[in-house]
């Protein structure tokens, strides 16, 4: 089943950082579509919940050096 989740990252410090996070998330298995917005810090992820585990999204963002929060 396709699901959508939203997170918020308030501490992006440059637009390319947001693109890097976007790429890292979209490389994850089961992720169908990702939008990461530098200007609002909004992260929207469409994923297949039989493959991807939403808990790993936050870890991926943390790995990139940013702090995810629930939207």
């Amino acid at each position: 089943m396709s699901e959508t989740t939203q997170l918020r990252v308030m501490d992006f410090d440059c637009p390319s950082c947001a693109s890097t996070v976007e790429r890292a998330l979209s490389n994850q298995e089961g992720v169908e579509d990702v939008e990461v917005h530098y200007s609002t810090g909004r992260v929207e992820i469409d994923y297949d919940d039989s493959v991807a585990d939403p808990a790993t999204f936050e870890r991926t963002i943390e790995n990139q050096g940013y702090t995810p929060q629930p939207a």
């Binding site: 410090d13 693109s19 890097t20 917005h37 609002t40």
Partner: protein, 641 residues
């Protein structure tokens, strides 16, 4: 303090702690090396400073490389490692510390910009008191269902969208409409989630709760607007695609020629398009956030940039410059009693559903026969409660609407014509001089007059007035001061239009326009080279709003179509927001130019400085970070515009 809370404290402030520790180590190592001959110790401390400050940066760099992107963090890591490799410990520590400090400050200030909407989000209360099964219960606001009755006590925030079914109060709607003055609410009035009930207790029948409220839709719209790329942003993004590889090529080339590793690393660091890519989004997010808090929804950067070029604002007259509440100002009888004139007109207009017809009907139903000096006029009493003793008017046997001209009806064996001069001409009805004179006089006062004809003879005339909004003249003056031309578009006749335009102080007017003509007029102005904004109600004026470069809808709260179609939507019916919205757009456009200019200038100077060896790695980094912060700071000025 137990370990748990220490850990939590560290996690929360990790970035500051890292920057501070790295900074202290850097200062210590540098001082040690400067004052003593303990070179090895100094070098060790400086390397430690670079490691502490650079660990997170290197980690992100690793992920950047892994996901095949080339970000600034990769470049900074390369520069720091390179500097350590050639023994420039001081430079390595400085670069890392400055970058970490800059990033921390950038993240922090951007958070402030991103939080501009937070206060709106926090406006909606979490719980609501509903009446269920005869008793009052407190439930989560998002679980209230449509049709349920919510009770809101004085001083409480309204938790849902709905209609008042009981009670009366003043409601502060600032969170939704930006209006500071409270609005009176009684039975049948619409209220919005997030607004504040000030005086009396209200019972509200829910129409929307949770994410299905006007406030939530506004917030969502504002976020979408902030996320949409402006033309300048897309231009810069396209440019950056070639720019970054260009900088890398330049740096490799510089190394090949000079064999100077530090020089080519410095080029990499200063060549990052930091301020350039950050500038436009910060300006736009700040401006859109500020506008949202003032009750102005802007659709996005593209529209905002275009709005910054507006040099002509066209206003629809009725309901925009005027209050849109037409009332009968005067009735004159010539071959008939005043009361008969009014009644004839009212019967003919009874089913017309035209706003002039509505006003005549209302006057006929509420009249008390107040006779003024000439003995031929009556005034409509202000007291609306008079409607209660209104006599019921007979229906006409048949009636025909002649679009833009009037109505022709039959009643009781008589033909009644109510309309303008064009309708009289069309039907070959003679207009007596005294009636023409009366009509001319009323029109010169900005009123609209209709003739009342009984069996081919003009027996009277009715003058109708739509009061100007108090703010209209001030708004026209403010726009003129900002160098913007103003035009009024109206279906009224020439004389009335001239009088109203004069009263408002508007530069120009176009009269006797049919709805589709308004669109053509806008097109005409655009073809003449103007950047045109059109202000209207967003529903009747939708086509002209769409034709204009920037369509501005007034009083959009509650009308989703207006919010959808307009480029800018004023949530309240508040004309005074127009100069604010237009000048904010202009300020935003300039702000973007300033930011792009500053960024390009900084990179150019730095590049020249590096190539002539005046700018070292650490200095380059300092100036680069400072320019990014300057650009963010400049953009954030728009939050306080």
């Amino acid at each position: 303090m137990d370990t748990q809370s220490v850990k939590r404290y560290y996690r929360k402030r990790r970035k500051v702690i890292i920057v501070a520790v790295s900074g202290l180590l850097y200062a210590g190592g540098w001082t040690l090396g400067y004052l003593t001959a303990l070179d090895t110790a100094s070098a060790a401390i400086l390397v430690l400073a670079a490691i502490v400050g650079g660990y997170d940066i290197a980690k992100t760099a690793y992920h950047e490389v892994k996901s095949r992107t080339l970000g600034i963090k990769t470049l900074v890591t390369l520069a720091a490692v390179g500097a350590i490799g050639i023994g420039s410990y001081w430079e390595a520590a400085a670069v890392v510390f400055l970058f970490a400090l800059g990033s921390y400050l950038e993240g922090r200030t951007m958070r402030k910009t991103r939080n501009a909407l937070e206060e709106l989000l926090e406006m909606t209360p979490d719980t609501a008191t509903v009446r269920r099964g005869g008793e009052q219960r407190e439930v989560p606001a998002r679980e209230v269902e449509a049709g349920e009755v919510v009770i809101v006590k004085p001083g409480e925030k309204i938790p849902v969208d709905g209609d008042v079914v009981d009670g009366e109060s003043a409601v502060n709607q600032a969170p939704v409409t930006g209006e500071s003055a409270p609005v009176h609410k009684a039975d049948g009035d619409e209220v919005y989630a997030g607004t504040i009930n000030q005086e009396g207790s209200l019972e509200i029948e829910t129409t929307g709760a949770g994410s299905d409220t006007t406030l939530q839709r506004i917030i969502q719209r504002v976020e979408e607007a902030q996320e949409a790329q402006s033309p300048t942003e897309s231009l810069i993004d396209r440019f950056a695609k070639y720019y970054t590889p260009g900088v890398i090529a330049l740096s490799i080339g510089a190394y090949a020629v000079t064999q100077n590793a530090i020089l080519s690393l410095t080029l990499l660091v200063i060549g990052c398009p930091g301020a350039l890519v950050i500038g436009p989004p910060v300006s736009i997010v700040s401006a859109i956030g500020n506008a949202a808090r003032s009750g102005v929804l802007m659709k996005g950067g593209e529209h905002l940039e275009r709005a910054g070029k507006i040099d002509l604002v066209a206003f629809d007259k009725t309901g925009t410059l005027t209050k849109g509440e037409t009332t009968v100002a005067d009735v004159a009888g010539f071959d008939a009693e005043v009361s008969e004139v009014l009644e004839l007109a009212a019967v003919a207009e009874k089913k017309s559903e035209h706003h002039l017809g509505d006003a005549i009907l209302e006057a006929a139903q509420t009249r008390q026969g107040t006779v003024t000096d000439g003995g031929t006029t009556i005034s409509r009493p202000d007291d609306d409660s008079a409607t209660t003793d209104a006599r019921s008017l007979p229906d006409p046997e048949d009636f025909d609407v002649v679009a833009g001209k009037g109505v022709v009806a039959h009643h009781d064996g008589r033909e009644i014509v109510v309309g303008n001069r064009a309708l009289l001409d069309e039907r070959g009805i003679e207009l007596p001089d005294e009636v023409a004179e009366y009509v001319r006089k009323r029109e010169e006062r900005g009123e609209t007059a209709v003739h009342v004809v009984r069996d081919g003879v003009v027996v009277g005339a009715i003058a109708l007035r739509d009061e100007l909004r108090e703010a209209a003249p001030g708004v026209a003056a403010q726009l003129r001061d900002a160098g913007i031309e103003t035009v009024m578009l109206t279906g009224d006749n020439e004389r009335t239009a001239r009088a109203v335009a004069g009263e408002v102080g508007i530069d120009d007017y176009r009269a006797e326009l049919l709805p589709e003509d308004k669109q053509a007029v806008i097109e005409e102005y655009r073809e003449a080279g103007h950047v045109v904004a059109m202000v209207g109600d967003g529903i009747n004026d939708a086509p002209s709003l769409a034709t204009a470069d920037v369509g501005i809808a007034m009083g959009a709260a509650g009308t989703d179509t207006a919010i959808e179609t307009a480029d800018m939507a004023l949530m309240a019916d508040d004309l005074e927001r127009i100069p604010y919205a237009v000048t904010l757009s202009k300020a935003t456009r300039w702000n973007i130019y300033e930011n792009v200019g500053l960024a390009v200038l900084t990179v150019t100077i730095l590049l020249a400085g590096v190539l002539t060896s005046y700018v070292t790695l650490a200095l380059g980094m300092l100036v680069h970070e400072a320019s990014v912060l300057a650009v963010i700071g400049n953009g954030m000025r728009l939050l306080r515009y």
